[in-house]
Amino acid sequence: MSDRMHPQRPIEDWPDALEAAASACRHVRRVQLLRETASTQDHARASGASAGTAVVAFRQTAGRGRLGRAWADTAHEGIAVTFVVGDRPPESLAMRSAVAAATAARTFAGDAPGIKWPNDVVAGGRKLAGVLVERSEGRALVGIGVNVLQQSFPAELAPHATSLALLGAACDRLDVLAALVASLDAALEATDDDIYRTYRGLDRMCGNRVRFLTPDGAVEGTVRDVDPLHGLLVDTDAGPRFLPAATTSVAPPASVSRYGGRDGSN
């Protein structure tokens, strides 16, 4: 594996480039750039940032995500951003944020990235980007993390994680951020029908054998249909089961500690 990295622009270049990306947007109107922060999500909440603000970390050191700290520290290799947006119903936010993250990833990695319900971005079965959405005070904090430059991951994450670099994309983190600003804006602007269709086109869960956690206990089976507005149709050994979206989560890999369905990289 090559140690040569695509040249990265310095932080001094970020404000202007991000402002330029936001200037073409309706839903992202200003960018707050932080040299280093524990969590863009916590910063956005604590600062009371209003809808239209994107909080971007040049480095995020302690983002929240169930896959452990190594994943959560972007260490100048990943990107972390929290978009503060006007409130919408949960299923709309889930669909739009997932489509935005996957679309940005596909700008650099072609057709490989897709969506693992409800809102992980995966490629080749490994997680490339994560989304964490928190609704609070009549606004929603849409946190998106993307693995960009990582050439390897700690042992416990390696089987489950990938990056744009590992997918063969040579890119600057700043370009990925700019693409994400544009794709998030487009996803918020799209009609419900369009976003629903796009989401289903990007689905990477159908056909896979998946273990879910439900109020009735664990359910395992081959996923036959994913409807982000309603739920999942799963072929279990005992026959087909419908799992409502609101009370179903994907069971984490056995090696990873869990806390309900909590996930994401911010």
């Binding site: 929240r64 949960p90 299923e91 936010l93 889930a94 409800p118 809102n119 989304v131 964490l132 959405v133 928190e134 609704r135 609070s136 005070e137 929603a140 439900t214 109020p215 009735d216 249909d225 982000p228 309603h230 739920g231 149709l233 026959g239 087909p240 089961r241 419908f242 799992l243 409502p244 979206a245 609101a246 009370t247 989560s249 806390y259 309900g260 369905g261 909590r262 996930d263 994401g264």
Partner: protein, 157 residues
């Protein structure tokens, strides 16, 4: 369960927002409210829900084991429920390594966040909506909750 208080609130919201029809359903029940015009009183159709979900060829899921019957607030104790505004998973703390938002005995105000309800990895902050003292926690962290299910009982101040 949709009780009369909730129904009144829905009617009030419909009138305020000029909605003419509202269709609500959950596992057990379906409620349809229609208004012909702002001058006519809302008409309520209340029927058991026939279809819980529309899924091609899905067999019905087994009933949830001993689903906690939404406990009604004990009016004689003067307690009021903080109810879940949505279906999802209840979390008492902001993250697993943090203390709960509130404990029994805590004083809360209308804007105090008391818990999170998560659905599809969207975490929704739930507020007390009134001032008082938390007297009882009705559900455990990680438990699935229904629309309108009491999450906490509070003694209003």
């Amino acid at each position: 369960m949709i009780d009369i208080r909730k129904l009144k609130e829905l009617v009030r919201l419909m009138t305020a927002s000029d909605l003419t029809e509202l269709d609500l359903r959950d596992k057990d029940e379906q409620v349809t409210i229609r208004r012909a015009s702002p001058q006519v009183a809302p008409q309520v159709i209340h029927a058991p829900a026939v279809v819980h979900h529309a899924a091609p060829a899905a067999t019905p899921a087994p009933a949830a084991p001993a689903a906690a019957a939404p406990a009604k607030p004990a009016a004689d104790e003067g307690l009021v429920a903080i109810e879940s505004p949505m279906v999802g998973t209840f979390y008492a703390s902001p993250s697993p390594d943090k203390p709960p938002f509130v404990a029994v005995g805590a004083q809360v105000g209308p804007n105090s966040v008391v818990c999170l309800v998560e659905a599809m990895k969207i975490f929704n902050e739930i507020k007390a909506e009134r001032s008082g003292t938390i007297v009882k926690m009705m559900v455990q962290s990680g438990q699935a909750v229904e629309f309108g299910q009491p999450l906490f009982m509070i003694k209003p101040s």
